[in-house]
Subunit: 317 residues, 3 copies
Amino acid sequence: MRSFLGRDILSLRDWERMEYYRVFEVCDELAPIARRRRNSDLLKEKILVTAFYQPSTRTRLSTEAAMHRLGGHVVGFSDAKMTRAGDFYQESIKDTVHMLEYYGDVIAMRHYQQGAPAEAARWASVPVINCGDGWGEHPTQVLTDLYTIRRELGTLDGLHFLCIGDMRMRTMHSISYAMTQFDIQATYVAPPEMALTDDFKKELKERGLRFREADNVADVIGDADVIYMEPVVQADYTKSREEARKDRGRTPPQYQVTRDLLREKARAQAIILHSLPRVDELPPDVDSTRHARYWIEAFNGVVLRMALLALILGAME
Amino acid sequence: MRSFLGRDILSLRDWERMEYYRVFEVCDELAPIARRRRNSDLLKEKILVTAFYQPSTRTRLSTEAAMHRLGGHVVGFSDAKMTRAGDFYQESIKDTVHMLEYYGDVIAMRHYQQGAPAEAARWASVPVINCGDGWGEHPTQVLTDLYTIRRELGTLDGLHFLCIGDMRMRTMHSISYAMTQFDIQATYVAPPEMALTDDFKKELKERGLRFREADNVADVIGDADVIYMEPVVQADYTKSREEARKDRGRTPPQYQVTRDLLREKARAQAIILHSLPRVDELPPDVDSTRHARYWIEAFNGVVLRMALLALILGAME
Amino acid sequence: MRSFLGRDILSLRDWERMEYYRVFEVCDELAPIARRRRNSDLLKEKILVTAFYQPSTRTRLSTEAAMHRLGGHVVGFSDAKMTRAGDFYQESIKDTVHMLEYYGDVIAMRHYQQGAPAEAARWASVPVINCGDGWGEHPTQVLTDLYTIRRELGTLDGLHFLCIGDMRMRTMHSISYAMTQFDIQATYVAPPEMALTDDFKKELKERGLRFREADNVADVIGDADVIYMEPVVQADYTKSREEARKDRGRTPPQYQVTRDLLREKARAQAIILHSLPRVDELPPDVDSTRHARYWIEAFNGVVLRMALLALILGAME
C-alpha cells in the first residue's frame, strides 16, 4: 500500500481497497477524541491552509474542526472575492500555490474549476486535499460516506447502492470510483439531462462495476441497502433570490425519497445518505425514520478528516 | 442556583440575581488573564463554533478573543452569504445545527430572526449562546453592561437607569429583564414609533420593574446614575451608501446626550454606556468627559465572555 | 538602536540601517521554524488582531501564518463589509481602535486610506503594524524584499535598484526610504502619469539617495542588480469584470520585463522581485530564468513577519 505521508488526496480513481481500510482504521483510533470533545496535541506544530474559491459550510468547517481537534492551526480564505485570485488579477493557480505552500503544511482546496486542485498539487511542496472541484471529484465527502456505511452496516461488501441525483456531480464521480473497489452493485436514477455520460459508463464498465440505470426511484428502491442522494434541482445563481426560491419544491416525484415510499418499498435496514444541504428531494419527515443517517455524517466527516490530516502529515503511520 | 455547565445562554428573562453575581465573580477571577495579556490553557481542549448570520464586529471578535485568551480554538462563519444557509438552499436551523454541533463544543450564534438561537438550542447537543437575535435579546452584551456598571459604581442596587434609543432593540429587552432582578428604577426615552410596546410594558410591570417613560433626555437626565444608549437613527440597507450617509446627523436633539447637556444637568457620578457603533446621538466630545465608560466595555466584554465560556464548558464551576 | 518591544511599524521613513540588520538577524534565527515546518510555542500566550479593510491574500495570510508558526492566536476581519466600519456607521478609527486594542496584543491593519494605521497607533494601547495604507507605505512587504535581496545577493550595499511600475504605490515609497539607509543607487521607470512626485523627489534628494529617472526599461536594465517591479495597469473596480479583463495585456512594452530582454541586456546576477499578483508586466516565461526570486518571497514574508511579531511582542530582544 502506498504511504499516506505527504500524499495528495485528489481523486479516488486510483485508490485501492486496502487504502480505504487503512483510513477507516485510523478513523476508529481518532474518533474518541471527537466523541469525548477533548482536542489532542497531535498536529500542534502544523498549519492547515484552506483555499476555498467557492462557498462551503460543511466541507470547510469540518476540515478546520478536524485540524483544531488535533491541536493544529488554520489560515486561509473562504471566498475567492476576498483574494486576488477572484478579482482583476485572475492570478494563476501556479502563482497562488507558490504563495500558499509557504503559509502552512497542507492545502485544502475547493475550486469551481475541475482539475484545479490537481494543478495546485503539480506545483506545491506540500500535499493538496481536493475539497471539491467543479464537476470533478469530492474524495473527502465520499470517504466520509463510506466510513459511515461501514460503521452503520458493518461492511461495504455485498451491498447494493441506489444513487439518486445529478450524475454530473463530483460526489457521484467519487462514489462510483470507490464502489469499484468493493463488492458493490449500483443503480443510478437521474433525470435524462443529468445522466451518467457514455464515457463515464464505459470507464465504470472497464473498472468492473456492476451497475444499471433506472427512471424512477420507486421501481428500484426495494433493492437498495444504501440510498445515496444529491439534489436534482440546482441552484441557479444567475437568478434573483426570489426567482431562485420558486425553483425549490420542484423536484419531480420520481427522484424523491419520501416517508411513504420508504414504508412501502424500502428494506428495513436500508440507510439514506445525503451530503446536504437538501432542497426537497428528501422531505424533513424522513428524518425520524429508521433509515436516516445523514446527520451523523457531520460527526463522521470530522473524524475522517482528522484521520486524513494525521496520516498525510505523519502524525499517524 | 442552576448550574452553568452545559447551559444555553438565550435570554435574560429567567435569570436570577444570584446568577448574575456568580458570573461577575468568575469575571473577576479571569480578568487578570486579559489584563496581563497572557493567554491561559483553560479551554485548550475545546472548540467554539461561531455562526454569525449577520455582520458583527464587537460581539463576534470579543467572543473569539475570549476563547483564544483561554487557549481555545475557533471555527465558524461571519457572513451568511459564505454558507449554504444564506443562499438558494435556505437550510433550516435544524439541519444546520445537526452539522455545527459536531464541529465544536459550544455554538455562538447571531441571527437576523428572533428566536433562531432558541430554535438551535432545541436541537443541539452542545450549548448555544445567543449573540443577538433580530428584535429579540442580546444577553452577552447586557451582561457586559451590568458587569461594567458594577465595577464602575460598585453596585447595581439603588441605581436609576436612563435608557435612550429604539426600545424595539434587543439590548433594550435584555437590560429590561436584567433590571427586574436588582433594586433599579428605569426611565425610557424613545421616539414614539420606537417606544416600548404595551405588551412589553405589561410584562415589565408584572415582573415588578419601577419605570416611567419620558419624551426628552434633558428633562430626566438629572435623575440618572446610568445613561444607557442606542441609536434612534437606523441603518436603512435598502438605501444606497450615499443616501444612507445623509441619514447620519439626523438624531433629534431630545434623544442626544451632548457635552453641554451633561455639564448642565447630569449627576457627577453618572456613567454613559453605549454598545457602539454610534451615529450622532453621542458626539465624540463626550468621550473626554468623566461620564464616558463605553470604551472600557470592549475590555469587559472579553472578560465577561471568558467567564461564560469557562462556566458553560466546565472549566470553572 | 530603539527597542522593538511595543513599537509600531508604520513607516520605514525613520528606520536606521542598524534596525534593518537587527530584524534580519532575528529572521535568520527564526527561519528554521518555518523551514522545518514545526510551529514553536514562542507566542502561545499572545493574540494577533487582523484589521483588513481591503482584500489581501499575501500580506494577511503571511502575517497570520507567522503568528501561527510561533504558536499564537489570531482574531480579526478580512473585509470591511463584514464590520460596522464599512457600513452605514462609518465608525471612526478611534472608536474602532478602542475596541480592537482589547481583543489582542498587536494589531495588523490594512486600510484604503493613507495614514489610517498611524491614526490607529495614536489611540491604541498595543502596537500597530501597517500592512499597507492606501498610497502610503507597506513596510512589511519592503522588509521582506530587503531580506530576500540580502539572502540572495549577500549584501545590500553597492547595489543598483531598478524600480519599475507606478511610483505612487506604497511599496515604492517604502523601498525608497529604505534605500537611503544603504549604499544603493536607484533608477525609476514609470509612465509619466505615475512618476515620482516633485515633493517626493525633493525629499529623497535631501535624504541623500542617488537616483535617476528613465523612460524605458530596456535602456537601463543593464545597470540593475535588483529589478523591483509593480504593475502599471491598475485594477479599475468601477468597471465590470468583463471590461476589467480587457485591461489585462495592456502593459506598454517599455515597462515590461521579458525573457528576451533579460537574455539580451540583464546582468547575469540580477534578481527580479515582484510583490505579486502580476498583470502582464512580467510574463510567466520569466519564472524559469535565473533572475526570478519573487516566489521565495512568500517564504521570506512569513519569516520576516515572525521576526517582527517576536520582537514587538517581546519574545525576542
